[in-house]
């Protein structure tokens, strides 16, 4: 019998890294221009974007199957974007501490239960950015409450899970962390990974 996941094994040679030079640095990223040898043996130059923070996304689900979303203008694409609470966690911080902080700052909520439900690489041909996604339940008002950063003007909306998912499936929500985490919530609700009453409230 074929061994499950045997196909996941690596093939061939990894990239070899040569000298690198930092060409830009900000509080969030460090861009380097690197000399490299491709797995095919071909020499290459690689402009790589290193991220200083781990991206964190939180899917905060209320008992009635609704979720809390945040709305804000995003600089790079210039559009208004409704998203899950998200933020950056520095490498020396435990990601869960970052998740608690971002949830409180952006939504004024605290969660009694946290589950890590996703780890992904966001754009792995050009950046080293990684994300962790948490599901937060047992929600209540956080002490201190809503306290966005100085450049953040954040709106809040509490909406049925299915309506947020529909907004994502029809292109009204385009933030990838949000789209992927809503689909993950759907998968968990469908596959019995959530309490039955909560799953029913989310899917109905």
């Amino acid at each position: 019998m074929r061994s499950k996941f045997a196909w996941l094994r690596p093939h061939g040679q990894p990239w070899k890294r040569g000298a690198d030079r930092t060409v830009f640095e900000s509080a969030w990223i460090q861009v380097t221009d690197q000399v490299a040898i491709a797995p095919t043996g071909r020499p290459a130059k690689y402009g790589m974007v290193g991220f200083k923070n781990l991206a964190i996304a939180i899917l905060p689900i209320h008992e009635d199957g609704s979720i809390t979303l945040v709305g804000q203008y995003r600089f790079p694409l210039g559009d208004y974007s409704w998203e899950l609470p998200e933020g950056g966690s520095p490498v020396d911080e435990h990601p869960l501490d970052g998740a608690r902080r971002e949830l409180a700052e952006e939504t004024g909520l605290a969660a009694a239960e946290w589950r890590e439900v996703m780890r992904t690489q966001l754009s792995n041909s050009v950046t080293d950015e990684r994300m962790i996604g948490y599901l937060a339940t047992g929600l209540s008002e956080a002490q201190g409450g809503h306290a966005p950063d100085e450049t953040e003007a954040i709106a809040l909306a509490r909406v049925p899970f299915r309506e947020a998912l529909e907004a994502a499936m029809t292109g009204r929500i385009q933030d990838m962390l949000t789209v992927a985490m809503l689909l993950k919530g759907y998968h968990m609700a469908r596959e019995g990974a959530l309490a039955g009453a909560l799953a029913r409230a989310m899917l109905e």
Copy 2:
């Protein structure tokens, strides 16, 4: 009665953009350092990564419910990554032409039916990178076949959809485009958006 999606409306002021300066450019990205005014009125500097290509991901589903994945070493994180066929499409190309080309180059497959199933922003606080995801069915061998780029050493695997999804849900596959598109395929199969026989083959 509350109007559906009324909560999606924008609030407040957009970012204002001032002078920008290109600090790095490669075949794939252009990094700019920009002066900006935040929605809160606070002045800010914004280091932004502009992408020259649209990212494309293809979920190629065979009649028996299996899918074709590609494996390769990725430079930025240094790991071996099993993913959907993916690539970049220049702005002057129709994304579907890019998708046909990438599918043929990476897997040697052609598809009779193409459906656009996802449009997202990949890291919208730092980059302007966008992606389009296609579902490809009616698969056959492409004329010309497998023809990777000079820096690509690509392995192929044809695996049951559910096994690929399980690999993604357990962290064995971490590429975000792949994780999100596998979850999208699951959602479509569950919600009646695919032909019944195909959906059953994917979910069994």
